[in-house]
Symmetry: C2
Subunit: 232 residues, 2 copies
DNA sequence: ACAAAAGTGTTCTGTCTACACCCATGC
DNA sequence: GCATGGGTGTAGACAGAACACTTTTGT
């Protein structure tokens, strides 16, 4: 047990783990990354990538490390979801877990299972298999945090390619919020928001007059957009 | 170390604590509860009430227990704020803390310092003293969560008396959001929201035609109010 | 008497909602 | 040729912002 200066403590300690709920968007559906566990407990079951906190790292650093080890992914943006501490959540003994949500772009979704993961795959959020531990619960809270994240930061654009179409973006919102948006109103809202700049015709390989138009996220328009959200 | 069935683990473990950011409202200002620490480290400094997680309790249960022990308070509504895990946040050694925010009504703000607390007092959120550990950081995040809470649940009414006036409620919002609201627009918004029901004249001890009117929270009007908030 | 607090309505503007048709592509 | 997907505009309802005067109480 550590000792620093002249205080010491000697208390019971739980094991502490981190779990990663990684989201991606393939142009059609919102997906989440699961690994198949190589070891007991829940061997061969699907779960979020994660593992034990080490002595020399923060929780977020642990989440990044474990994710890299088990799937090769290194998302830029992490959000803390919540801590989970039900007494019986881990059959190995008392364990609390802190879950993180993160997002990767479509171009960076290649995964290779490693370490404790026998397999790693993307699943549409509407078609998740049975999950190990209380990961079902973690997932619901992570999706909730993703919604909050969409409101408070331009997270959506971290899930889209650099260049994207409005119908793509709308499908993303549909999956994230679990409801439909009127197409014309959705377009009007974002086109008038200053968040998007249209990509020049020759840069985009648009096929015809009725093929979707391409847009890019406009960092500059974001400050104003955010201000509008925080009316009462 | 625990053993269950036939798996065992043997990993390094951090100490785990909980911290309580308790909010109250005295009719004029939003306040937060601090204790003066009886022990090292940060002896005699102001800090949030908290302590070590025990083996037989969840994090929220630990937060409730510690708060009760140190201040006598037992708020009904708790929200998890975040986990804090910077390597050097506790001079005693590696400790991660999970912070909770909670709210008490004006009638239930009587505190009596106990256990590890030499003193316990309410401070206006705009006049906090220097805080121990990284509690300044915890406070900022807790206030942020309170704002989110105001949006997602009728938390505001858990900070007000059963019967309250609109100017009181507006002062609460002013402190929580750190900005002013137009008085007439504020009233219009909430009066038309269905969230409030006016208290009968004879129940309220209204002093004159220009004394404030009294209202009560109307649980029934809440579902609709919430629906409106979740348009895109 | 003066300052501080609270009741009260209207106008303007912007945003949200609902809704239908045409064109192009792929099957 | 049929279903799918995507571009495009308008009218009505609602919500937010700005804004001034009067009454009462306490100092």
């Amino acid at each position: 047990m550590e000792e620093t200066g002249n205080y010491t403590y000697q208390y019971w300690r739980p094991a502490v783990t981190v779990d990663n709920v990684v989201f991606s968007f393939d142009g059609t559906h919102l997906n989440v990354l699961l690994i198949r566990r190589k070891n007991e407990p829940f061997k061969d079951k699907w779960a979020f990538a994660g593992g034990f906190l080490d002595e020399n790292e923060t929780l977020e650093e642990a989440a990044r490390r474990e994710l890299k080890e088990e799937t090769g992914l290194a998302p830029k943006h992490f959000m803390e979801v919540s801590a989970f501490s039900e007494l019986d959540r881990d059959p190995r003994g008392r364990t609390i877990s802190v879950a993180f949500a993160s997002v990767v772009r479509p171009t960076q979704t290649a995964v290779k299972a490693g370490d404790d993961a026998a397999d790693a795959r993307w699943f549409p959020v509407t078609e998740l298999p049975m999950l190990a531990f209380d990961h079902e619960h973690i997932f619901r809270k992570a999706l909730w945090m993703l919604r909050i994240g969409f409101l408070n930061a331009p997270i959506a654009f971290l899930l889209l390619d650099d260049i994207f179409t409005l119908p793509e973006m709308q499908r993303l919102y549909t999956d994230v919020y679990g409801r439909n948006f009127d197409r014309r109103n959705f377009q009007k809202k974002f086109l008038s928001s200053g968040l998007l700049t249209q990509v020049a015709q020759d840069e985009a390989d648009r096929k015809s007059a009725h093929a979707p138009l391409f847009y890019r996220f406009n960092e500059g328009g974001y400050a104003e957009f955010r201000k509008k959200l925080w009316k009462l």
